[in-house]
Amino acid sequence: MEQLKTIGRELAMGSQGGFGQSKEFLDLVKSIGESRSKAEEDRIVLSEIDILKRKLLEPDVPKRKMKEYIIRLVYIEMLGHDASFGYIHAVKMTHDDNLLLKRTGYLAVTLFLDEDHDLIILIVNTIQKDLRSDNYLVVCAALNAVCRLINEETIPAVLPQVVDLLNHGKEAVRKKAIMALHRFHRKSPSSVSHLVSNFRRKLCDSDPGVMGATLCPLFDLISEDVASYKDLVSSFVGILKQVTERKLPKSYDYHQMPAPFIQIKLLKIMALLSSGDKSASDMMYMVLGDLFRKCDSSTNIGNAILYECIRCISCIIPSPKLLEDAAEAISKFLKSDSHNLKYMGIDGLGRLIKISSDIAEQHQLAVIDCLEDPDDTLKRKTFELLYKMTKSSNVEVIVDRMIDYMISINDNHYKTEIASRCVELAEQFAPSNQWFIQIMNKVFEHAGDLVNIKVAHNLMRLIAEGFGEDDDDADNKLRLSAVESYLQIISEPKLPSLFLQVISWVLGEYGTADGKYSASYISGKLCDVADAYSSDETVKGYAVSALMKIYAFEIASGRKVDVLPECQSLIEELLASHSTDLQQRAYELQALLALDARAVESILPLDASCEDIEVDKDLSFLNGYIQQAIESGAQPYVSERERSGGMFETTDYHSQDHHEVTSHALRFEAYELPKPSVPSQPSAALVPVPEPSYYSEPHQPISTSSSVSERESSEIKLRLDGVKQKWGRPSYQSSTSASSSTPPQAANGTSTHSDGGGVASSSSSKPRSSYESKKPEIDHEKQRLAASLFGGSSSSSRSDRKSSSGGHKPAKGTANKPLATVPKESPIPVPDLLDFDEPTGTSDVAATDPFKELEGLMESSRQDGGGSTDVMGLYSTDASAPVKTTTSVDSLLSELSDSSRGTYHQSQTTKGPNSKEALEKDALVRQMGVNPTSQNPTLFKDLLG
């Protein structure tokens, strides 16, 4: 810190001359830098504000001084203090003819002012003038301000000038003019709609930079309206081809990649244009394939392009070859040590599984590693992937995991999101109602205040309606288990309000239904709830209603009701409550206690929450009474509508027609009420599955799966009509390549048989045993998890999950599930166990990839080698390998496998000690030669140590 200060002082002195800043400003910056607390900083800034206020009011402030004051204003505003007293001076400064002052003024106003600020009107004129200036720097400064300060109403004032600038001589101006026009389009599409053709035209600008800038607005335009830009596909493909073939000037290279930012934008645009369009996709295959071969995966930007290719492929209609390329790129990402690349890999995987579901199976262990990574970003991304790949077979594991994670985090925003995802998945794929209720309980318990109230209503409805079939027995069991679980939970401290509402409702409705719990027990619990959460009126209301129901059922069944003393006191307290709602409920309860059994039964029949209550809106049963009243001389009822009409139509009180006329002009009546959501489809928007059927799910697999083959059984119980199958077919190809599929049968083999058996059966396989020796326990757990996540068939993986959640208890899995499935699956396990180790096995696995890689490299070097020397630049590390060491394949392999893992990291962070061979050094030197100061992590170390 001390050192920093001295350096600061030196630097302050040094830069004083160069940048014309005064001692005062530097002192201000320094004293703020040295302040030890926020309060001290505030004090310094406040006194600075006082000084500035005074100085700005002085007459005849020299302009140079004024400029400095403005910079100081900007600075204090960045620190969070109000500098509005000086805005007008900044505005004045934009009028100055001096470029330096003008730029300062523009900088200040763009930072200070909102586009709707009153002062803008004073600047528009200046901007107009400056846009016509013959000094292009003035024009640029004005364009900068245009971007920020012009709002919808002022666009027409500057639009002609900006359009003129599209043909300015300087490409810097053209670029900025395009961007400004783009900005207008974003703010108010209608104001520039007649000018969008300019963007198309500018695509052919002679300067590649201008062309690149045009891609930004085109991207927006195309994402709004794909159809009218289809004709540009071939142009974009052509441009991309030229870029990748290095037709652009060398100055556009960045880290040896030709114009990577332009490439990325182009890929994004092409993804939009070719989405679902076969002919457009066809045009892109060539160039995408080229990109996969040419991209240098050892640099960050090369990987950025690779990722963009993956993203593009996930949008277009891909060819099998491209999918392979994409899958290979993803597996490189996932195997990398860099968290950034893993993140991109997971993201890419999430995109690709939509098209080709079996890709993910190769990467199960990598995915699970990411799930347990300390990096929160990566973890969340992985949960997103899991969310995308959830189906009924793995929903239990995934939701369990999500809930564990949800409990562990504090970030309310993300907690809400993950809670709602849990609910969504549970609603969509729940294997049984019991499970659903358990999950809901957990979600409510840990994130109760964050979930949507609808979820609570869904849960109550589920408990009330049960399976939706005529299976009263199962319904009753479900209710009983819900009641039991709630009675357990209810005594825990500080439950969320929403959860308590659900609990109270269920206890009231079904607490005594089974006869297991006495009315006084349940009502005691309910009184406790009302007591413990006495500040929460909604909960109290629910509790009182629940009490009322319980007493009603008691009365109706002819038993004598003795109201508990605490209950009595609760009622009395509520009778005097400030809340009219609570008061009414209490009075109703009191009244109900005095009624006889027959009356009570018709008021609150048992288990009638699902019965439709018919509401006679017209109150037709009163017709007779009304008739009588009118006959005896009462005034007929005048509807509210007529009355309000009358209020405004004093001249013609009764004229119905007249009222009609006015209703055309102005409507005074309230809007129609929103249509009540149909209660039977609460989650219709999210879940396209017909609801009643998925509740029935748990029965089917149990009854049918034992004898039917995997695939058939899963088809029989497919209730996912309309839901896209997200993750692999339930059948497995026997492994075609070393790293192909990892069927769940293997998992079953290991998890349902004893652990020892699983290991023993694979003892012949080398990689497994070697891995086993390193960290056997984790490996096993992971396998299990992998199997339950990635397994296909729902019937088998359900048993997996049981065993995985129950630790090492193979008996549980087998007891629960039909044994018959196990022998059926047993022929396959041995080779599959091998696969499990695949992704984590180190050298052996990597060896398979580098071979391919090598082939690719040789091929590309053969192709391009004759023509140009660019190959060297392209594959800064990798490409040099085949050139020099083709004889020693072994070392090459290790080099390659190293480079596929390590180089990204290396090149990213260190230029440091090159312990490796000349190859790497050579590559690094080349990199450094091109970009001497690039990638300098010790950027500040020289000064700040």
């Binding site: 014309g20 002052l101 810097a172």
Partner: protein, 167 residues
């Protein structure tokens, strides 16, 4: 589109903040503080990405890089590529490095307006304008040359304010 560029030091002091859509000062401060509290809780050796919907609204991502005493932060939406944004930070830092020859935190603090000039050449209205640091340097130097020239003139107060760049 890029929503914001921020630089702050490891104590959470903002060194430069630019939001490409207008935000009131208080909101800016809130966001800077929010970003800093997230960044400072990140362990070493994790990814440079953050999903930051909670602060910047849906579909917002953040990329940051930690250099010595400074965090460089870019906030953007789904239409940008995370890895490319990471390289944009690299471009920015490389350019600053060339500008100030071995840039350090104090350069950034003391050369507030030049920082903005550099940034405006790279990101324009929330879109990536230029990524060639040589070109950026050229533009910035041209401006500072003119500024230096005009500055020496404006040292003579008031009377000679009518200078115009002739081009």
């Amino acid at each position: 589109m890029i929503k914001a560029v921020m630089m702050m030091n490891t104590q959470g002091k903002p060194r430069l903040a630019k939001f490409y859509d207008f935000l009131p000062v208080e909101k800016q401060q809130e966001l800077i503080r929010g970003v800093f509290s997230v960044l400072s809780s990140r362990p070493e050796n994790v990814s440079n990405f953050l999903e930051i919907d909670s602060l910047f609204g849906p579909d917002s991502r953040l990329v940051y890089k930690h250099y010595a005493t400074l965090y460089f932060v870019l906030v953007f939406d789904g239409s940008e590529n995370e890895l490319a944004m990471l390289d944009l930070i690299q471009v920015l830092v490389e350019t600053l490095d060339k500008c100030f020859s071995n840039v350090c935190e104090l350069d950034i603090v003391f050369n507030y307006s030049k920082m903005h000039t550099v940034l405006d050449e790279i990101v324009f209205g929330g879109q990536v304008l230029e990524t060639r640091s040589d070109e950026i340097m050229k533009a910035v130097e041209e401006i500072s040359k003119l500024e230096a020239a005009s500055n020496s003139i404006s040292l003579v107060p008031k009377s000679v304010s009518g200078w115009r760049g002739g081009r």
